[in-house]
């Protein structure tokens, strides 16, 4: 969600009185434009044009081969109300919201816990930071394969571990009720970026505040809830907003986890319980040749993300206290 509107303003305003020969100013300007041309071309060709084109195609019926037909708002209304053309649209919305509600808090908790642990150790923190960050840089296909094995109903390590405390074997990725928690758990395991940001936040808490709290007689638990959590609020806010945006667009993980079994079709797990919204877009765009409807779904997601983000800005506390 790169926002071109937020492009930085020049740090130094040109001062009129000190401008030297105006001819050079113009050619400097020209060079400036030329220098940003590659970035500008990239932005226009690969971001702006496709986005505008997608908005146009969302009002058409288009199979990618023949000329698109203008259909007005039909794609939007059919997506919302026609359960014959789009039998699993609302299911994909439900799955994605459920996933977001579980994955975002779980990721934050796991990231903060990891950051606190790393912050607490004195030796080898770099090594642990690297180890905890590895899941982020691991290829999605490998992550999918590893977790399919970990969740295996017969040989999986997860079941083996749960067996030690007497919890019976579960068929994680094939039981509709367990699919979303299982996927969210993988997301929490991949929390390395949030962990690094939390770690930076922790390092930014002044030592004097901690010392003052100790002098006032606050124990470790009180210090965590009364000092660390409030001081990290801007970090948490940032992570909640970006994490929610990412979770609403989850795709790669679901695609890899449920694409096993020989066929190239991915229908989103048992009883569509893992049918993420973006996977649903993908199916309509590239499997059912309904690019117009897929574009409409993309724009509905954009609007949803904007609303959710606006609500978060309005109702979540952003300032440290």
């Amino acid at each position: 969600m790169a926002s071109p509107v937020l492009a930085e303003r020049p740090a130094v305003e040109p001062r009129p009185g000190r401008r030297r020969r105006p001819g050079i100013g113009r050619s400097d300007q020209l060079i400036g434009w030329l220098l940003i041309t590659p970035a500008l071309v990239y932005f226009v060709v690969f971001l702006l044009y496709p986005a505008v084109a997608a908005l146009y195609y969302s009002f058409t019926d288009w199979n990618l081969r023949t000329a698109p037909n203008w259909v007005g708002f039909a794609n939007y209304t059919e997506l919302l109300f026609n359960d014959v053309e789009f039998p699993h649209f609302w299911k994909s919305v439900q799955v994605t919201l459920q996933y977001t509600l579980i994955a975002v808090p779980l990721t934050l908790v796991s990231a903060l816990a990891q950051a606190l642990l790393i912050n607490a150790i004195r030796r080898g923190s770099n090594t642990f930071r690297l180890l905890l960050f590895l899941p982020v840089v691991t290829a999605e296909a490998a992550v999918g394969a590893i977790w399919r094995w970990l969740y295996d109903p017969q040989y999986g390590l997860i079941n083996a571990a749960l067996g030690l405390v007497g919890i019976p074997k579960q068929n994680w990725l094939n039981t509709p009720e367990l699919v979303i928690p299982a996927l969210a758990f993988i997301a929490a395991w991949q929390c390395g970026i949030s962990m690094i940001i939390y770690l930076a936040g922790l390092k930014g808490i002044p030592e004097s505040i901690r010392e003052a709290a100790i002098i006032d007689g606050a124990g470790p638990v009180q210090r965590f809830w009364k000092v660390v959590v409030p001081m990290l609020r801007p970090t948490t806010f940032y992570l909640v907003v970006t994490g929610t945006i990412a979770a609403l667009q989850v795709f790669g993980l679901v695609y890899v986890i449920f694409s096993g079994g020989g066929g190239r079709s991915v229908t989103g797990g048992p009883e569509q319980s893992g049918l993420a919204y973006v996977l649903h877009i993908y199916l309509y765009a590239f499997r059912y040749d309904a690019m117009g409807a897929a574009c409409a779904m993309s724009f509905m997601l954009l609007v949803l993300i904007m609303i959710v983000t606006a609500l978060q800005f309005k109702f979540l506390k952003q300032e440290a206290s």
Binding site: I31, L34, R65, D152, Y155, V266, E271, Y288
Partner: protein
């Protein structure tokens, strides 16, 4: 001044880099035929294709065949963009379910009468190119799914549904940790295999000519019920384990020839073979594989059909199909060269003879994924009966297609 020069130089270099990314179109010779196909699976496969290409050029002086190989996963996307941009090849591979879509929007052309003798081809394979009764392409190499069985657990493969159920029960009773058969799932892949079972009960999925949905009729209900009935002796918690059949956790599974090589490679000690699918009334199965079509915007259509006839004639088809990882669709080639296929491959060869093409409806993939797969899943999970699940799926399909019966 120096700063300005370096600035301009930098910009020039960047722009040069950008333009270098664009490709240059090769000038087409008067008789160059462009053929798109999937990337070779092995270097040997590339040699086979190359030999057939030079043979064709020798037989047709002045003709050059330009073969473009594209990774299978990117193929449909590339082809779709080429169609949209009007830069299609003359002739190329097309995924089976796309033939109907491309034919109906006239992206590909009908095969002229007399191009081949239709009786030379396996009927099911040829029919995957038939839309509204007309042929729009030729099968190049095809494959079917068949029954893999573990010889230690299954002494003789079951031929009928009753034998299949008995065998599955016997395996699971003898060792409760082993499942009888890996029952396919209610996903797109399972829904792709299921029509083979429906045909095995003498049923059809649809009647395209009369616009009738038939997969809620008795044969289809029986076919789905068969899978439901197999579940007690084939519990999911066993068969959902990774590679359950290869690990010896299941006595049987339904899969395609791609798994033969994988199992032989990774589980050399597993003693297994492949037999045609058990049936209720009629031996039958499904079919998948590569078709080739001639594009409306290409040039040299006559030469393109000649090339396709050459690829599929009895001299070349076995070699080519083996190189591509499938089976010949030319009856004479399949008959003559049967012995050149390995022990496990014989089951697939048998299966292909009785395989049925999937319905030639442009929306079939969507019907398969969005209606049939969830119906199979609903029945297998025990939430509704097979009849209820299929009635609902059939009614939704009728509503989607605007068919009345």
């Amino acid at each position: 001044m120096i700063r300005r020069v370096t600035g301009i130089a930098a910009v020039a270099a960047l722009l040069a880099g950008l333009t270098a990314c664009g490709g240059s179109e090769e000038a087409a010779g008067s008789t160059t035929l462009t053929y798109w196909m999937f990337q070779d699976r092995t270097p040997q496969a590339g040699e086979v294709v190359e030999k057939i290409r030079t043979d064709f050029e020798k037989a047709n002086p002045g003709v050059t065949v330009k073969i473009v190989k594209i990774p299978k996963d990117d193929y449909n996307t590339k082809l779709g963009s080429a169609v949209a941009a009007g830069t299609v090849p003359d002739v190329g591979i097309l995924d089976q379910p796309l033939v109907a879509r491309y034919a109906l929007d006239k992206t590909i052309v009908e095969m002229p009468a007399g191009t081949v003798n239709e009786a030379d081809f396996f009927e099911g394979a040829l029919n995957t190119n038939r839309v509204d009764g007309k042929l729009y392409g030729l099968p190049v190499d095809h494959t079917a799914v068949a029954l893999f069985y573990n010889k230690k657990l299954v002494p003789t493969p079951p031929k009928t549904w009753d034998e299949l159920k008995q065998m599955s029960d016997a395996i699971h009773k003898a060792d409760p940790k082993v499942a009888g058969i890996v029952v396919p799932k209610g996903d797109g892949y399972g829904a792709w295999m299921w029509p083979g079972v429906v045909h095995g009960a003498g049923g059809e999925m649809v009647d395209e000519a009369n616009k009738k949905i038939l997969f809620d009729q008795q044969p289809a209900v029986d076919a789905l019920q068969l899978w439901v009935d197999l579940l007690p002796s084939s519990p999911r918690e066993i068969t959902d384990s990774d590679l359950a059949f290869a690990n010896g956790l299941a006595g049987m599974m339904i899969s395609g020839p791609w798994d033969v090589a994988t199992i032989k490679d990774q589980f050399p000690e597993l003693d297994f073979n492949v037999a045609p699918l058990p049936y209720k009334t009629t031996p039958a199965g499904n079919i998948g594989g590569e078709n080739a079509v001639v594009f409306a915007k290409g040039t040299n259509a006559a030469l393109a059909w000649k090339w396709l006839a050459f690829l599929t004639n009895s001299d070349n088809n076995t070699q080519l199909a083996q190189a591509l990882g499938g089976f010949p669709i030319n009856k004479a080639a399949a008959e003559r060269d049967a012995a050149t296929f390995g022990e496990q491959q014989q089951g697939f060869l048998e299966q292909l003879k009785v395989a049925h093409a999937r319905p030639a409806l442009p929306d079939w993939i969507k019907i398969n994924d969005e209606f049939i797969a969830p119906a199979i899943e609903a029945a297998l999970s025990g939430k509704v009966t097979s009849q209820q699940a299929l009635t609902e799926a059939a009614n939704k399909t009728r509503a989607l297609l605007g068919w009345n019966s």
